[in-house]
């Protein structure tokens, strides 16, 4: 066991001890801490802190829970010269992520057709284990283009529009992808899975905007009360799972070769600049691009189903992408890495980000102009910035207003951060802040976080008519198996409203809107 100390209402510290190279910082209040203090996830934060080249701290977001290797909700950045890359910091489902579509539709327009819509989405979008996709089996030549171009390749094949790409993280294609770095086995596993949701906690949801918390930012995101939205949660399917497994084997050997002491073999890794490290990163980028294309294909199919059933054209539907975020990924990003005390942006009073001081209207979290400015720019964002490799395992990028990688439409609001909850309650849309950029490498949580194991969840619902219960709440659910529904019951998750409250109090992102589910298709 190790010492843990509370920093403030929203953070605890695991001080440097044993082989830890940096401290651990976990964004939890007392309620969330009680839920995790006895499981393995804090040990996992400490384990990550032992890895070579880790910068600032081993971090965890408020939805932290026990994972494998990294904790779920874990964020860690590594120095390019002496740091490592670990497939365990990305996970099997490379670029698992969330896409949110908005629409011109209102709750009243969709409610009468809801059952029909859910049934059609379930029929037209393959889900569940072993499902085959919406695209014919991918050939070697398809893979070569898809792995490099990502979502753009899907648009070129007729799935969606070019405008969609502007609102995807990395515009739907990570650079540095090497199609030849992905094994034949991985390609075979994913060949017929493009345009499939997969299983487990993956889903497709018809939601409505149930509450707006920040009208100005909601307007930038194009969200309004009672608006119909669609949330898509899925990843890179078998091609990602196999790529992770292929490289874990290589990294186990590499860890021995480079003399890296591993507290958990799932953290096996290699120096970023090593042959093994570079091979993993280029394969990971290729597979991440498969995931972007997967969500692009599914989004296109959603539009088709809505258009067909509601007899509306694309223009009238207005189903545009709000944003698409990765939450299992390793990315090269520019960050300030020097140890710095919690400071405020110019014009903000100390304590503002902690939520103990009212904010000056319209200033919060905004970066000064000239964010990425040139030489001599006095912006606090580019001072001491350097390129690092950020691992986000069950964590979402949350870039602030003014950042060059925040899409043009969101330059004043900050990058949308999509936080699904559970199938019975609600999800949230937030935006990134300058403080998150400063403290946690521009990151936020990725969901509610489980509190109950799948077995416990199944046992707890024996005899309960879950589908009927949800229907009585106005939620229609379709899934491949009752078991999936049982494993994913709302009580199996923390209340995401509380999780995002801690996110906001901790300054990691600002809450913009709440979405409530109307129809759910589970994988």
């Amino acid at each position: 066991m190790f010492d843990v100390e509370r920093i403030d209402d929203c953070r605890i510290r695991i001080p440097k001890q044993g082989k830890m190279r940096v401290e651990g910082i976990v964004y939890v209040d007392e309620i969330l801490y009680k839920g995790i203090k006895d499981d393995m996830c804090l040990q996992q934060v400490a384990n990550v802190a032992t890895l070579p080249g880790i910068l600032k701290a081993s971090l965890a977001m408020p939805d932290i829970h026990w994972g494998y290797g990294f904790p779920i909700g874990g964020v860690a950045a590594f120095d390019l010269d002496n740091g490592i890359v670990s497939p365990g910091g990305v996970g099997y489902d490379i670029n698992c992520g969330v896409r949110l579509l908005k629409s011109h539709l209102s709750l009243d327009q969709v409610k009468p057709e809801l059952k029909n819509l859910v049934n059609h989405l379930y029929q037209k979008i393959p889900s569940g284990v072993g499902s085959s996709g919406l695209h014919p089996p991918l050939s070697e030549s398809d893979y070569k283009k898809l792995f490099v171009q990502g979502a753009e390749w899907a648009v070129g094949c007729g799935f969606g529009q070019k405008e969609d790409l502007k609102h995807l993280e990395a515009e739907g294609a990570l650079p540095g992808a090497d199609p030849d770095g992905v094994s034949a086995r991985a390609k075979k596993r994913g060949a017929d899975q493009l345009g499939t949701l997969g299983s487990g906690n993956h889903f497709l949801e018809i939601d409505f905007v149930s509450q707006i918390f920040d009208e100005e930012k909601a307007a930038f995101l194009g969200l309004f009360p009672n608006q119909i939205c669609v949330t898509i949660h899925c990843g890179s399917r078998g091609v990602g799972h196999q790529t992770c497994d292929d490289h874990l084997g290589i990294m186990l050997q590499a860890s021995k070769k480079y003399g890296i002491d591993l507290p958990d073999p799932q953290l096996c890794c290699a120096p970023i600049g090593s042959e093994e490290g570079r091979r993993y990163l280029s394969a990971m980028a290729a597979v991440a691009n498969f995931a972007f294309a997967n969500r692009q294909v599914i989004a296109h199919q959603v539009r088709k189903v809505f258009g067909h059933l509601l007899k509306m054209n694309d223009k009238d539907l207005g189903m545009e992408v709000v944003y698409d975020v990765c939450h299992n990924i390793a990315k090269f990003e520019n960050h300030r890495v020097s140890e710095s005390p919690r400071t405020c942006l110019p014009g903000l009073r100390p304590g503002f980000f902690r939520g103990d001081s009212p904010s000056p209207e319209g200033v919060e979290g905004e970066a000064p102009s000239g964010f990425a400015g040139g030489e001599g720019d006095a912006s606090p964002y580019n001072r001491e910035e350097k390129k690092v490799l950020v691992h986000r395992k069950g964590a979402t990028r949350a870039f602030p207003p003014g950042h060059p990688e925040t899409p043009e439409a969101y330059q004043k609001s900050g990058q949308p951060v999509l936080i699904p909850g559970d199938m019975g309650r609600y999800s949230y849309v937030l935006v990134g802040t300058g403080q998150a950029f400063d403290e946690v490498f521009g990151s936020s949580c990725h969901g509610a976080g489980r509190v109950m194991s799948r077995n416990k969840a199944l046992k707890s619902i024996q005899g309960r008519p879950i589908i009927k219960e949800l229907e009585e709440q106005g939620i229609i659910i379709k899934a491949d198996s009752f078991r999936t529904i049982g494993e994913e019951i709302p009580e199996a998750y923390k209340d995401v409203a509380h999780v995002v409250e801690v996110v906001e109090k901790g300054g990691l992102a600002r809450i913009v809107a709440q979405l409530k589910p109307l129809g759910v298709v589970k994988g």
């Binding site: 494998y68 290797g69 365990g88 284990v129 992770c244 799932q266 799948r454």
Partner: protein, 139 residues
């Protein structure tokens, strides 16, 4: 003779501990329970036979390697297995004989999607004349 297993209460994923009289039966138990997690093994007919070789340096890596090979055959070739028989050839090699069939959606209800058998808390050890193993699957 035979194997026993029990679930570990892992928050997000599925963990299982095994106990067997021999190393061969431990691996057999791992393979067969994996198949049971994915699909009711009773519904799978042993109409096709496949033989695998698992070459890995440690008992743990061979365990993980076997489970991920079964996952690959399911995901890529859509094969499910009712029987998994294992011969430990030496410290580095297993020979695995599988009996099963291709998925038939009319007869096979897929229960659980598994992404991978992880190395986290992966362990194979001998204790009081019994072989024990532990694995956590990412689901």
């Amino acid at each position: 003779m035979g194997y026993h297993f029990q679930f570990i209460d892992h928050t997000a994923d599925v963990g299982i501990e095994f106990m067997a009289d021999s190393l061969e039966e431990l691996y057999q138990g791992g393979g067969e329970i994996f198949c049971d997690l994915v699909c009711d093994r009773q519904s799978i007919r042993g109409v096709h036979q496949k033989t695998l070789e698992i070459k890995k340096p440690s008992w743990e890596e061979k365990f993980q390697g076997l489970l991920n090979e079964l996952l690959y055959l399911f995901d890529a070739d859509h094969f499910l297995f009712s029987s998994v028989k294992v011969q430990v050839i030496n410290e580095e090699k297993l020979v695995v004989t599988l009996e099963g069939e291709k998925i038939d959606p009319a007869r096979h209800q897929i229960k659980l999607g598994i992404k991978g058998a992880t190395y986290h808390q992966l362990k194979v050890w001998e204790e009081n004349g019994k072989w024990k193993g532990r694995v956590i699957f990412d689901v």
